[in-house]
């Protein structure tokens, strides 16, 4: 039951605390209501109002996202918040979404205290800028569930009422029953028509208006024909009509639609830059440090940015040693040094010690946000993914209408009533139900298989777009390589054990990220250091075991008079080392490929045109050429706009592009591409707007994902053939005038169920074959 000792400890602690009422109040003496100023901005009524779901005079309700919850004990603890703190009335966990909904009395516990309580027990809620002005959306799944429920209810009852007719009991019981039954059936069919099937008519109509024939058009036509024909039959007393087929059709179709709408609730695919920023920053005021909501940050404010925190707005560095990682924003792998007076840009992540910066531009006008606001990034128009089903339905609709006309023309010479009947029967039987079901079922099972292996699609249609692609564009930093330049090499004669010990002793004293990494690189036990000195942003020096070491930037080591600058080749970030004033060599930071990149991705070049767009310098070009071959399109020093432009140019040349990137610098290209896949180390964390999120550990599976998506589309084509075969059989009945309600009632479910069965079985076979 417990995933970790921590959970068990908490559980036991709480259980122990409950043994007597006496102890309950003080179960958590460590949680002081007034802690740091970190969450002070939550006391701001404006901020609080935007965060709360609902609030009345006594109670407030709020929904937090807490990615940390991961086991039953977490649920238990979070749902027992009311025992930890007075004022919390009820807390409910939605585990799949990692959400906690808390109802609390705001007079007895403030929002800030609540967040502090959660943080205190280890579940710090994610409070992001985009939550502060999010539109509250309701899930569409609910409305589908209701529509399916209604359609299923009516379908079942209509079927039951149709049984006498199936069994030929109409003639046996020569009473009013059949008539009464028919009208009850008609009454039951109305909610199906007006509620459950309403969407098909709406979609068909809006498709017609924009001159697009989607699969919804023949479906709406079939549904309308079925209902109209049944209505006519019932009113004129010819027979009971096809209401059973009608409601069954809508029921099955809606189930298909339900699968088509599936997505991963806990992931967000449509985030903009606001989701990247925290909701609040630490502001420095004359009286001390306070926490301010980021939306209230003004020009000239001084803020403190600590290790690992983001710079929220373009600023000037006032104090501290800036070592800023822009890789997420620009794609440059190496963090940049910044010293007092330098300009630092929004989106950079400070590594190392805390810095103080002064805001020179508002958050909404920084370089980073301007990327989003510039016109080329406003590709907001919903992408029209012409799916295979939609494409086919154009031909299908045309064929059906032709056959209908032909049938009518043939019969009209013999019998005008029969002509109308049979023409309608063609429309009825040609309704591409199985066709409409095949692709949602296949694609959603492909999506499920992908999800099991770390690729999360926004919706099943993405799988189809993946199969159609012929070009793959990779970002380098953070996508092919690990975001942290972990691959450290020493350029120079190999270090002896003694030298390694000297270096280790020296770097142990520094908290600078580069020092920390070098410390991991060298081995040996530590030695005492004398005369240690650190020049912030430049380097460190010290005397160990009678050797004087200097370690730092090229110009600093040279300025210190120890090393002649003989290296104009240097654009690579390197850390220079001298021992006893003799140049010894330099530490180079290289990027390491992510797991699986080197083994599996080169195979992509045989089937796809592969390109690499990097915001970084071209120093890793040889490595990339070794990976993908020399004729791969590569471009370096690409700005976000360049990337977007290149993707668009490829598309203009007729290529269907998959863009794989990770950072904000890829955001435009990800959206412009036919399929944008964001690579993320933490799928619950931030990723730019995209069509799919790929867990970074699974990038090596990319060729298999692509193969399965192609197989999936092949399977859809096979199912189309199967369903067309059913349609042709049905048309045979219809054209010759033999389509009785019974034949229709048998044919329709059999075709649907067999296609769905084929889709499910074949997809699981295909995924086994691709090794997923």
């Amino acid at each position: 039951m417990f995933c970790c000792p921590g959970c068990k400890a908490v559980y036991e602690l709480l259980h122990a605390a409950e043994l007597g009422d006496y102890y309950r109040r003080d179960a958590f003496p460590g949680l002081k209501p007034e802690s740091s100023a970190e969450f002070a901005y939550l006391d701001d009524p404006d901020v609080a109002r935007q965060l709360l779901d609902f609030s009345d005079r006594r109670f407030s309700r709020i929904t937090f996202t807490i990615p940390q919850m991961h086991c039953a004990s977490c649920i238990w603890l979070l749902e027992n918040l009311y025992r930890l703190k007075d004022g919390v009335s009820r807390s409910t966990v939605n585990f799949p979404r990692r959400q906690l909904t808390v109802l609390f009395e705001h007079d007895r516990i403030s929002l800030r205290q609540l967040v502090e309580l959660l943080t205190g027990i280890g579940y710090e809620p994610v409070l992001r800028l985009d939550q502060l002005d999010r539109p509250k959306t309701r899930s569409r799944q609910r409305s589908y569930a209701l529509k399916i429920g209604v359609a299923g209810f009516c379908f079942g009852n209509i079927m039951l009422l149709s049984f006498p007719h199936y069994l030929g009991a109409d003639e046996l019981v020569n009473t009013a029953f059949p008539t009464i039954f028919k009208y009850v059936m008609l009454a039951l069919a109305l909610p199906v028509l007006f509620y459950s099937a309403s969407e098909y008519f709406r979609n068909a109509w809006s498709g017609l208006r924009s001159r697009m024939l989607t699969i919804d058009f023949p479906l709406a036509l079939g549904i309308a024909a079925l209902f109209g024909r049944s209505l006519f039959d019932i009113i004129t007393g010819i027979g009971p009509g096809y209401l059973d087929s009608f409601s069954g059709l809508v029921f099955f179709l809606l189930i298909g639609r339900f699968f088509q709408q599936r997505t991963y609730d806990q992931l967000s695919f449509d985030r903009d830059y606001k989701a990247y920023f925290p909701a609040a920053v630490t502001r420095k005021t004359p009286t001390g440090e306070t926490s301010t909501a980021i939306s209230k940050l003004a020009l000239g404010d001084r803020i403190i940015v600590r290790h690992g925190e983001l710079i929220p707005a373009d600023s000037i560095l006032i104090d501290g040693d800036g070592y800023i990682d822009y890789s997420f924003v620009t794609g440059e792998a190496a963090p940049q040094q910044a010293s007092s007076g330098d300009r630092v840009q929004a989106g950079g992540r400070q590594m190392g010690t805390a810095i103080e910066v002064e805001v020179v531009r508002e958050v909404s006008q920084s370089y980073l946000t301007s990327l989003w606001n510039s016109a080329s990034f406003q590709t907001d128009t919903p992408r029209t993914m012409t799916s295979l089903a939609d494409y086919l339905s154009r031909w299908f609709t045309a064929a059906v209408l032709t056959i209908t006309a032909a049938t009518f023309a043939y019969w009209v010479r013999l019998d005008s009533t029969a002509a109308l009947n049979n023409a309608v029967a063609v429309l009825v039987v040609a309704c591409p139900c199985a066709l409409a079901l095949a692709s949602p079922f296949i694609l959603s099972s492909v999506m499920r298989v992908f999800g099991r292996h770390g690729l999360y699609l926004k919706n099943p249609a993405v799988a189809e777009a993946m199969a159609a692609a012929n070009t793959i564009v990779f970002d380098k930093t953070g996508t092919l390589t690990s975001p942290e330049p972990t691959d450290l090499t020493f350029d120079g004669a190999p270090l002896t054990d003694m030298e390694q010990r000297l270096i280790k002793a020296l770097v142990r004293n520094s908290t600078h990220p580069v020092s920390r990494r070098i410390e991991k690189f060298v081995t040996g036990e530590t030695l005492p250091v004398q005369n240690y000195d650190e020049t912030p942003g430049q380097g460190i020096t010290g005397t160990i075991d009678n050797h004087t070491l200097h370690l730092g930037r090229a110009d600093w080591v040279a300025d210190a008079g120890e090393m002649p600058v003989n290296n104009p080749y240097d654009r690579t970030p390197a850390t220079y080392l001298t021992i006893d004033r003799v140049p010894r060599g330099r530490f180079l930071f290289g990027s390491a490929w992510r797991d699986g990149v080197a083994q599996h991705l080169p195979s992509l070049t045989s089937a796809y045109r592969v390109a690499v767009l990097s915001g970084d310098t071209d120093r890793e070009r040889p490595l990339l050429e070794k990976l993908f071959g020399a004729d791969t399109g590569m471009a370096f020093n690409q700005s976000p706009h360049d990337k977007l432009a290149r993707v668009e140019r490829l598309q203009a040349d007729g290529h269907s592009v998959i863009m794989i990137g990770d950072g904000l610098n890829d955001a435009g290209a990800l959206r412009a591409a036919d399929v944008g896949i964001a690579v993320s180390d933490d799928t619950a964390g931030f990723s730019p707007a995209c069509d799919a999120i790929l867990d970074a550990g699974s990038i090596g599976r990319l060729p298999r994902f692509l193969r399965l998506s192609r197989l999936g589309v092949r399977l859809i084509q096979v199912s189309f053939v199967i369903s067309l075969a059913y349609n042709i059989v049905g048309l045979g009945f219809a054209v010759t005038g033999h389509l009785s309600p019974l034949v229709s009632a048998i044919l329709m479910p059999i075709s649907s169920i067999s296609v769905v069965g084929f889709a499910t079985l074949a997809t699981s076979l295909a995924s086994r074959r691709t090794g997923l």
Binding site: L19, R90, G149, F153, N157, L161
Partner: protein
């Protein structure tokens, strides 16, 4: 034979009852999270609550 009409009405009434129950269940969010409730029901109610401390936890829950 006309009892069939009554039976039909009764069966439809029962079915509509179930439909309404389903409607309510969806609307009240019971299908939004199908995982957590299964875990939640396994948690024991603390024994101490029943003996010493009936009032407090109940008032806070009823809200």
């Amino acid at each position: 034979m006309y009892v069939v009409i009554v039976l039909m009405g009764a069966s439809l009434l029962v079915a509509v009852g179930f439909l309404l129950a389903f409607w309510w269940a969806v609307r009240s969010g019971q299908y939004d999270d199908t995982y957590t409730p299964a875990v939640r029901m396994l948690f024991d109610d603390p024994a101490a609550n029943k003996k010493n401390n009936t009032n407090d936890s109940h008032t806070s829950r009823e809200n």
